[in-house]
């Protein structure tokens, strides 16, 4: 068997995943911490002030990576939901359920930092800008998934129902984004832009990329932490849990 494929099959087994998470969590956590420190230093100390927006543009070093994460996590969540629905892999259900709150957290960070960036830049906390509006809708899509999953008494049924909803959401998300953009250009013209697509200076690009990597590593850490906890909770009566916990004092 293809080694990569075999690795995926192994990862689906709860004891193997438990060991895998325990091994890699510290690495992801410490790397995320170190990169965050480096990114914050480069972005908030070293990088020069923007001559148009002044100092407050530095908020994009948090805002943009978390916006990327909010969408990436939704896609990953839907992928895990699809795997859970088709192959009924228990671990995929767990990963699906664990993605939702982390994604909602990143969406909330995106919204709040976007508002704090908007006040000094646009002169208002909230503009019905296409990106902010889509991000707000995304937050409610996350809430729908979390709410539906927790409404079921049986957590596996809840995960499957929410997975169907997440797949419906992933089909609708591009349409929502497009419709909001269409509506936005119709009503107020392209007055506001979050980041210029034009040349971005390397002193600003590096902190952005470093923060984006840090956000990704944080996500890995948080996902492994949540998934490991949920796995232990669901499998607490199983033999492997007793073995792996009982061997250590």
């Amino acid at each position: 068997m293809n080694p990569l494929l075999r690795w995926f099959h192994q990862l689906g087994s709860p004891p193997y995943f438990h060991a895998f998470a325990t091994r890699w969590m510290p690495l992801a956590g410490y790397c995320a911490l170190a990169l965050t420190a480096l990114g914050l230093y480069l972005g908030f100390v070293v990088a020069p002030a923007d001559y148009l927006q002044g100092e407050s543009y530095r908020i994009i070093f948090i805002h943009v990576p978390s916006a990327w994460m909010s969408m990436f996590i939704y896609a990953l969540m839907a992928l895990n939901g699809a795997i859970a629905l088709v192959w009924r892999i228990k671990l995929s259900e767990i990963l699906f359920l664990c993605c939702a709150p982390i994604g909602a957290m990143f969406t909330a960070v995106t919204l709040i930092t976007g508002m704090l960036w908007g006040k000094p830049t646009w002169g208002t906390y909230w503009a019905w800008d296409a990106r902010l509006t889509s991000e707000l809708v995304l937050l409610f899509l996350y809430f729908g998934v979390i709410g539906l999953a927790s409404a079921y008494e049986d957590s596996r049924q809840g995960a499957r129902a929410a997975a169907v909803l997440a797949l419906v959401g992933v089909v609708n998300l591009p349409i929502i984004h497009f419709s909001v953009k269409w509506w936005n250009t119709l009503h107020q013209g392209d007055t506001v832009k979050l980041i210029g697509k034009s040349s971005i200076h390397p002193s600003m690009l590096w902190p952005l990329l470093i923060m984006a990597t840090a956000a990704k590593l944080y996500f890995v850490f948080a996902l492994l932490l949540r998934a490991r906890g949920m796995l232990l909770e669901q499998e607490r009566a199983k033999h492997w849990v007793k073995e792996s916990l009982g061997s250590r004092p």
């Binding site: 849990v241 007793k242 009982g246």
Partner: protein
């Protein structure tokens, strides 16, 4: 409160962003971490009782 924030100028918005982000990350991370710790302690205690 918003008035006070707006008095602080650019760095006020920046530090508010950083603080809010840190708070949300803490709210995301600490509850599952505590839950898992409690669960581990519980399982271990039960195992010890079972053996002893």
């Amino acid at each position: 409160m918003l008035d006070w924030l707006e008095m602080q100028g650019h760095w006020g918005y920046i530090s508010a962003s950083l603080i809010v982000t840190a708070l949300l990350i803490a709210a995301d991370l600490i509850p599952p971490w505590l839950r898992e710790r409690r669960l581990r302690a519980e399982i271990r205690a039960r195992l010890r009782r079972g053996q002893g």
